[in-house]
């Protein structure tokens, strides 16, 4: 952007009034944000240092919860941690790259086909968990009436119906497919409008300067001109990749998932928070998750952030 410009040289007294105005503008957002998001998050962080069963007063236990997570929680160490990383590494970058490529291809089409195709591709992310459960349980149902089983048996690839969702063999794979299927969401939409709004003259100028093909065009013009949208897409991809545990629960119909095959850290948090009512422990797990997501987020900012905003 060529226009960082004049504003850096403003006289000092103006800046103070600017601060006041900014405060007033932020206020309507800041009040509900503080009440319903910030305070609860801070409370949750405090609770992570306690034992809290939701009924009795929390008892301060120091770092015990954190120590337990990494020394005693065998389910966490053996299943949840590897699952979470496998899932996040496939669904996060996979969904992100896919979103960008599909968004880019869509922008190469005229308006009407683009709109229709984008609608089809965006639809799964509008569905909501109930709908997703209904769809994919019907497809991967473990009896002969399941559509996947029916097709496999018709094709002679198997003679026994496969228990897709009740055993651990295919569970993670199916989770990943379903997640990618529903990953073309808000980040994808932002990317479409980001690409469509890149200044056309930039391309023209770049070709004059010796740009040769479409790949170079994407790398040197498209992506740098839509950094804010790339960053938004990346952050959304990261947050989703670590927060989509409900997909496994929806598919299995229960938490925990069969043999913990699809158990992600968010399921583990739900399990402790709302099934065992160990809120302190669940809060500690959430803080661990927050730190992990934060690290990846920092990485995204390194790629796409402006210099000033180092989160």
């Amino acid at each position: 952007m060529s226009s960082v410009s004049v504003s850096g040289k403003k006289p000092k007294p103006l800046k103070k009034r600017e601060g006041l105005k900014a405060g007033l503008l932020l206020m309507p957002y800041a009040i509900p944000f503080t009440m319903f998001i910030l305070v609860p998050v801070v409370v949750a962080i405090v609770l992570s240092f306690t034992f809290f069963d939701v009924i009795n007063r929390p008892v301060f236990t120091g770092l015990l919860n954190y120590v337990s997570i990494f020394t005693q929680d065998t389910v966490f160490l053996k299943n949840v941690l590897p699952n979470t990383f496998l899932y996040a590494l496939v669904v996060g970058p996979g969904g992100y790259v896919l979103s960008f490529l599909v968004a880019w291809m869509l922008t190469q089409l005229q308006r009407v086909p683009r709109t229709i195709l984008a609608l089809c591709i965006y639809t799964p992310s509008m569905l909501g968990s109930v709908f997703i459960g209904v769809v994919w349980r019907a497809i991967f149902s473990g009896d002969q009436a399941g559509i996947a089983n029916f097709l496999l048996m018709e094709l002679g690839l198997t003679d026994q119906p496969i228990q897709f969702l009740l055993t651990q063999d295919y569970f993670m794979l199916i989770m990943i497919i379903v997640s990618l299927w529903s990953a073309m969401g808000i980040g994808f939409l932002a990317m479409i409008s980001g690409i469509l709004n890149v200044n056309e003259e930039l391309y023209e100028a770049a070709y004059v300067d010796g740009l040769r093909n479409r790949f170079q065009e994407i790398i040197y013009i498209t992506i740098p001109s839509m950094k804010p949208q790339m960053l938004f897409g990346a952050v959304m991809a990261i947050v989703n990749a670590f927060n989509m545990g409900w997909i496994g629960v929806t598919l299995a119909g229960a938490n925990p998932t069969p043999q913990y095959a699809g158990q992600l850290i968010t399921n583990h948090i739900d399990d402790y928070g709302f099934i065992r009512y160990e809120m302190g422990y669940a809060a500690a797990l959430s803080v661990v998750l927050l730190l992990v997501v934060y690290l990846f987020n920092k990485l995204a900012y390194r790629f796409f952030g402006e210099k000033e905003e180092i989160v």
Partner: protein, 298 residues
């Protein structure tokens, strides 16, 4: 409002291929990828839409039926009948959902756009710090916040009121983030010009920010609508009075009922929940997927 005339040059550049106005052979390869992908995305959805209209017998038939042999509204009828037996008519849930969704989405967009403007274009000391707090909140799992949130609701006397539905969803970190990202792309010079013309902050928001971030606002509206329309947290945790609960809550409750006869109702219920999302998206898509090329953003 006409497209600028494409200038032909001698180099490789032959007019923008982004948002073309005509079909060209070079698009065929994209169709080869996009058409199967779109089919993969949308066929499972059509299947379930179909199931909502399937007679109960066919839902569990062997071989599995993908398309209904006859259309019936029985599943929908059963759904409405069930709600009339519980004392609260479905129209009441629907009314609650509509009121809550409209109010929340409007408030949400209004406060996010002013907040985003302040965080993007104002210069003050805590700017970066405040934005990172928003980002951290965005990353925190909702589950862990549920109990503390409940405590806040109880202590502010909002239990069993419409406020318990609306206020917790009014500030969405994602929406603020999204609108701020697009506001960042508006040149500062444009704002400075408006200031020189004597425009105050609210005028700048109305005349400059809102028109130039329309794709972001439309995207945010789609997202915000989906989140609020489908939200069940308030109905589950903050409301005990059935007549104050939402349609999403009611339809979700039905779907957890795992009986055979519920299968058809679940499909019907999820269709009812999904349709408004679809309608809003179709309504908004021209804003989302349109270039702003004649608006002077560049």
């Amino acid at each position: 409002m006409s497209q600028p005339v494409k200038r032909r040059r001698r180099n490789a550049y032959s007019g923008s291929r982004i948002n073309p106005s005509r079909f060209s052979a070079s698009q065929i390869k994209f169709y080869l990828v996009l058409l199967p992908l779109a089919a993969f995305m949308v066929i499972p959805v059509l299947m379930i839409v179909n199931r909502a209209f399937m007679p109960l017998g066919e839902l569990h038939a062997f071989p599995p039926r993908i398309f209904a042999s006859e259309f019936t509204f029985n599943n929908f009828r059963a759904l409405f009948r069930l709600s009339s037996t519980t004392g609260v008519p479905m129209s009441r849930y629907l009314l609650n959902s509509v009121v809550i969704t409209i109010l929340t989405v409007i408030l949400n967009l209004a406060i996010s756009v002013t907040g985003a403007y302040a965080l993007s274009k104002k210069r003050f000391r805590l700017k970066e710090r405040l934005f990172s707090i928003n980002q951290l909140a965005l990353m925190f799992v909702p589950t862990a916040v549920a109990v503390p949130r409940y405590i806040v609701i109880v202590n502010s006397g909002m239990l069993n009121t419409l406020f318990a539905h609306i206020l917790p969803l009014v500030a969405m970190p994602v929406v603020l983030f999204l609108i701020k990202q697009f506001t960042d792309q508006i040149p500062d010079a444009l704002i400075e010009a408006a200031v020189i013309d004597g425009a105050g902050d609210l005028t700048i928001i109305r005349r400059v920010i809102i028109p130039l971030t329309r794709p972001a606002l439309a995207t945010a509206a789609v997202l915000s609508f989906q989140l609020v329309w489908g939200a069940v947290e308030a109905s589950n945790n903050f409301i005990t009075d059935d007549s104050l609960r939402t349609l999403a809550f009611y339809l979700n409750a039905i779907s957890t009922n795992n009986t055979v006869s519920a299968a058809g109702m679940t499909a019907a219920a999820s269709l009812i929940l999904f349709l408004p999302n679809l309608i809003i998206f179709i309504f908004m898509q021209s804003q989302v997927m349109n270039t702003m090329s004649h608006s002077g953003i560049k």
